[in-house]
């Protein structure tokens, strides 16, 4: 009995640990390894053996952090993220509350209609919106009096694609949580004379807080990793540079200009920043959300 006890827990852990090691720890370790190296060319760089890999310590990190384009990219993405988070999560919450309200009609249809864009792949969504944005083929570009792909509007146009695609998913998460709340609470509130609006503000939203925080963290991570929308829209317009978002810069370094080492260093820096932002947010809101738990 005692011997079995000693190996059983490890056996249970094996699949998780194996998967973690193979598909997470190993690639991360390799990325860090690459980020400390660089190829060095001698002479013309054309003959055999004129290129070799050398260890450069933290040089790539110094270059990555010192690159103004990376921070300009962060600034752009931060503006974009604030826009997307506020509008997308705001809409998701409002839709979820509306669908959950007692006297709603066509709830099933509306739920599916709002969720459906989430099923459209990001590239397809960006292309579809991209075509709608192009001045000469667009039915809507004149609508707001400003070209959607112009310099002043491009952030909003991109945020629109993300909001369109993401609202449904977040709404569904919040809505599912709402359905789990006991109806007794509402009945008690109604007996006390609370209106539907008061129930929503005073009961539903506070109980939803952990779910809201969950979708916010997911959304923060997703939006600061924005890549698909700008990359897909880029060929259609002059307004998006190849380093518009930090992730695009990594892609450019690795696969366009062929500097895998610089890309690895930038990737590590970005991963660090994402971690700090996500956990920072969790820390800030922890007491509000999980105080009673």
């Amino acid at each position: 009995m005692t011997t079995r006890k000693s190996w059983a827990p490890y056996l249970f852990l094996t699949p998780a640990v194996t998967l973690f090691a193979l598909f997470l720890a190993l690639p991360i370790g390799y990325t860090v390894y690459l980020s400390l190296r660089r190829t060095k060319v001698s002479g013309l760089g054309l003959g055999k053996g004129s290129k070799r890999e050398i260890f450069v310590g933290l040089d790539n990190y110094v270059a990555a952090i010192g690159d103004g384009e990376l921070w300009a990219g962060w600034l752009r993405v931060l503006g974009y993220a604030v826009l997307v988070l506020a509008v997308m999560l705001g809409l998701a919450l409002v839709f979820a509350l509306m669908l959950d309200a007692a006297r709603v009609r066509l709830a099933r249809f509306s739920r599916i209609a709002i969720f459906l864009p989430y099923a459209v792949p990001g590239v397809a969504a960006s292309l579809m919106w991209g075509f709608l944005y192009l001045p000469s083929v667009s039915p809507i570009s004149e609508l707001f009096g400003v070209a959607p792909l112009s310099q002043s509007a491009i952030v909003y146009s991109m945020a629109n694609v993300a909001v369109w695609g993401g609202t449904g998913f977040n709404m569904l998460v919040l809505y599912t949580n709402l359905r789990a709340i006991s109806q007794d609470l509402y009945q008690a509130a109604r007996i006390d004379g609370a209106s539907e609006l008061q129930i929503a503000l005073r009961i539903k939203i506070p109980i939803l807080a952990p779910a809201i925080i969950l979708v916010t963290v997911f959304s923060i991570i997703a939006t600061i990793q924005v890549f698909t929308e700008p990359t897909t829209l880029r060929p259609l317009t002059n307004t998006i540079s190849s380093t518009w978002s930090p992730l695009m810069k990594i892609y450019r370094d690795a696969f366009v200009t062929g500097d895998l080492y610089a890309a690895a260093a930038t990737a590590v820096v970005i991963a660090g920043i994402s971690l700090v932002l996500s956990f920072g947010f969790l820390r800030v809101v922890k007491n509000h959300a999980f105080g009673e738990a």
């Binding site: 699949p15 083929v137 190849s242």
Partner: protein, 437 residues
């Protein structure tokens, strides 16, 4: 309780077993082709390319050569395919043969991803012009591929609309600018042409025509002169027209551009000899309305052009069957039967000099120009190229970013050109290339 625990252990064990057997399968998979090749005597080659109908051409080879079987794998083409090949080469599983655009070849060579196939290539050297051959030797003693097609540039224009707006075919860039102003003055929605900040290859071709030498080798060092005088003149010429608003700045190959071509809102396209392909698929409505002319010249009476695009077929340095691969590459691009197929199936303009004789029927899109190929060959005869450097990818990426911005804000194009030069030099310095001052 006991039962439950046992069941769980059993389940976990199954999971682990499933996991490890999956792993075993994965590690076994890559070795299986290697294991099967000694069993059969014949050589199997993979060939990455994006030539239309290449599978039919390969089938002809495969029937005649049962011992060397080639599989054609269709790629997306362009910069992405070059990246994919470099990545595959770095990862150690490249194809045996690869379509290498001339501007991408130096980066393949610098990455040691393609092999020197001089012994196989030398016998067919005489079938190619000096200029084209230089693109696969990079001015060295090695030969890094067999030239397949080339893209001398000419001017495509809408003959019907030129008549409608009463403008003559421009013979010089000065006349082209005047025509651009005239057309735009007559109809503010119509432009003579557009400057595409997304197509550095087109700009490079025009720079070649102007006499630019972006890269060159002097002794054991590279010389980078993307901002040389001819190219600066070229940049400011287009920058001026964009700023003036008489030339559009929408990129090529976009839905918008397609629409403008279809609707007759763009009257010219300085493009390469392969343009009938994209024109017929992107602007089908304008079929039979285009004509061709010599690219406008910088000085009246000259006859210069440049190259946009064109590829060689290279043998991967990581291939296990380099000799067989080189044999196929040579056949594909110099054998009369193969050349005829390249023309017929692939709609290519073969790089081999005898390939031009095979082109008689005009492209269907240009059925109104019966002697299309003869005219085009004449207009393209004065095409001059330049050596491409080892980091064209960096330069082209910098071009897109800098000229995107310049075209958008209507700022100085020679300023944008300077930043392309700076980015290219900085990258080469960082990598350790020796640069001549």
């Amino acid at each position: 309780m006991q039962m439950n625990r046992l069941a769980a252990v059993a389940a976990a064990a199954t999971l682990v077993a499933g996991c490890s057997s999956g792993g075993a399968q994965q590690s076994a998979a890559p070795s299986s082709p290697a294991a099967s090749s000694p069993a059969a005597q014949k050589v199997a080659l993979t060939y990455w390319n994006w030539v239309p109908g290449m599978d039919k051409i390969v089938a002809v080879w495969n029937t005649a050569h049962p011992d060397i079987q080639v599989t054609s794998s269709t790629q997306a083409g362009g910069d992405d395919s070059a990246t994919k090949f470099l990545t595959a080469a770095k990862a150690g599983n490249p194809p045996d043969l690869v379509q290498a655009e001339y501007q991408a070849l130096p980066s393949f060579v610098a990455a040691e991803a393609v092999a020197d196939i001089k012994p196989a290539a030398d016998p067919v050297k005489a079938q190619f012009s000096e200029g084209i051959w230089g693109l696969v030797t990079l001015g060295t003693d090695a030969v890094y591929g067999i030239p397949q097609d080339s893209g001398p540039m000419l001017l495509y224009y809408r003959a019907d609309l030129f008549k409608k707006y009463g403008i003559a075919v421009p013979k010089t860039w000065q006349e082209y600018a005047d025509a651009a102003r005239a057309v735009h003055a007559k109809d503010s929605k119509v432009y003579l042409g557009t400057f595409s900040s997304k197509d550095p290859g087109s700009f490079a071709g025009l720079a070649q025509q102007a006499g630019g030498q972006w890269w060159s080798i002097s002794g054991e060092a590279w010389k980078v002169a993307i901002n040389d005088e001819p190219t600066k003149k070229l940049a400011d010429y287009w920058g001026g027209l964009v700023k003036e608003g008489v030339i559009d700045s929408m990129p090529y190959f976009t839905p918008e551009w397609n629409k403008a071509l279809n609707d007759g809102k763009l009257l010219t396209w300085p493009s390469a000899i392969w343009a009938p392909g994209p024109l017929s698929s992107n602007a089908p409505k304008a079929k039979g309305k285009w004509a061709i002319a010599q690219l406008p010249q910088w000085n009246a009476g000259e006859n210069f052009s440049g190259f946009w695009g064109g590829s060689a077929v290279s043998v991967s340095a990581g291939s296990k069957n380099k000799e067989a691969a080189a044999k196929f590459a040579t056949w594909l691009n110099s054998d009369p039967e193969a050349l005829a197929l390249l023309v017929k199936e692939g709609s290519l303009y073969p790089a081999a000099t005898k390939g031009a004789d095979l082109l008689s029927e005009p492209p269907a899109y240009f059925s109104n120009v019966p002697d299309f190929w003869k005219q085009a060959a004449g207009f393209g005869a004065g095409a001059r190229g330049f050596t491409f450097g080892p980091n064209v990818n960096v330069a082209y990426n910098a071009f897109k970013d800098a000229f995107d911005k310049a075209a958008l804000n209507k700022t100085s194009f020679s300023g944008a050109l300077q930043s392309v030069q700076d980015a290219t030099v900085a990258d080469m310095t960082k990598s350790g290339f020796k640069l001549a001052q």
